[in-house]
């Protein structure tokens, strides 16, 4: 995941324009890229050319990159990924990330109680805010939903890191 901002660019500040932009890529979806602006609550999914397009338009400057590296396990109806969060390029450790997926349901609202109950099993597990409201995403879970969740996670991890 990468995060970028406009604060360093020489242009007038417009409150209606997003000053943040995150791009999310997934290793199991190498040809897809999802862009998220949290401030404007907007999402766009594109193919691998989307990053090149963004670079050509020169709207933002790269601020931070967070890489999640780990393993995924299948446990019945669940899959659990455990990953280390590393901030590049300084290779700073930011925390351990758990990604729990419940496969029989593809609706976030329907699966949320089960996932919350699962997360409550482990001590010291903090659930990253779902925060899907306002993005206009459909009910059915997709790569765009996952990207929004990971952006929330990244903000939480990088925000905590900067406080230390």
């Amino acid at each position: 995941m990468t995060a970028a901002g406009t604060d360093d660019l020489q242009r007038p500040a417009d409150p209606a324009v997003a000053r943040d932009l995150c791009s999310v890529t997934f290793s199991d979806q190498p040809h897809s890229l999802v862009l998220v602006t949290r401030s404007q609550r907007s999402v766009l999914e594109g193919d691998s050319e989307l990053q090149q397009l963004l670079d050509k338009l020169r709207l933002y400057q790269l601020r931070a990159t967070l890489q999640l590296e780990g393993l995924r396990y299948g446990i019945g109806d669940f899959s659990v990924s455990v990953a280390r969060a590393i901030q590049k390029p300084l290779e700073e450790f930011r925390g351990i990330v758990l990604d729990v997926a419940y496969h029989p349901l593809d609706s976030l609202a329907a699966a949320d109680p089960i996932l919350q109950e699962t997360a409550a099993v482990g001590a010291n597990i903090r659930v990253a805010g779902a925060g899907m409201e306002g993005f206009g995403l459909p009910e059915r879970y997709s790569l765009q939903h996952a990207a929004v969740q990971y952006v929330q996670l990244m903000v939480q991890l990088l925000g905590e890191g900067s406080k230390q």
Binding site: V17, A18, S42, L53, L57, L59, F135, Q144
Partner: protein
């Protein structure tokens, strides 16, 4: 790199052209409705972004592409080519509100237009050519607007737009394929 040749055909001659294209393709063309929005950023360099929405039927969800074009090749060599050649970065994109996403990044609408017509896919000299025969319509108001409700820009004439992609920078051969 993209090669593009443009022309017009009078409505009376449209049928003959469609028959020739049908003969080259072997299959009928596809009906398409295209909305093209040209957006400019609030950056000092006023970057330009081309958003295109296409569908097989008016009002269908369809698909979106976003593209950034460089200025066409110039000079004597380029002037002798039968087509315009320029670099383009193009991506398919999807989301709850594709134009709204780019608006959120500071892009505003410069202009929009609609194209309603038929798309043919022709294979010639190892190149895949796309030939679009369409009426160009002026769209105004909110964006994106409905193609079928737009006003015809040049009544009685249809736009002929032929494009192909140059592989590995071999734009001379690609442009020649269009010219043929």
């Amino acid at each position: 790199m993209e090669c593009k040749a443009l022309g017009t055909v009078a409505a009376e001659a449209l049928g003959d052209l469609q028959e020739r294209l049908l003969g080259l393709c072997g299959v009928p063309g596809q009906e398409v409705y295209l909305q093209e929005l040209v957006l400019r950023s609030s950056n000092p360099d006023r970057s330009e972004l081309h958003l295109q929405h296409g569908s097989r039927k008016a009002g269908e969800p369809g698909w979106w592409t976003a593209a950034e074009y460089r200025i066409p090749l110039q000079g004597r060599a380029a002037a002798d080519l039968p087509a315009t050649v320029r670099s383009v970065v193009r991506t398919q994109c999807q989301g709850p509100d594709v134009p709204g996403f780019w608006r959120a990044l500071g892009f505003s609408l410069a202009y929009q237009l609609g194209k309603q017509g038929t798309l043919f896919h022709v294979e010639h000299a190892d190149h895949q050519l796309q030939v679009l025969l369409c009426q160009v319509r002026r769209l105004s108001g909110v964006w994106p607007a409905s193609v079928v409700e737009g006003e015809e820009l040049v009544p009685g004439f249809w736009l002929v737009e032929a494009t192909t992609t140059a592989k590995d920078g071999a734009y001379t051969e690609a442009a020649a394929a269009l010219g043929a």
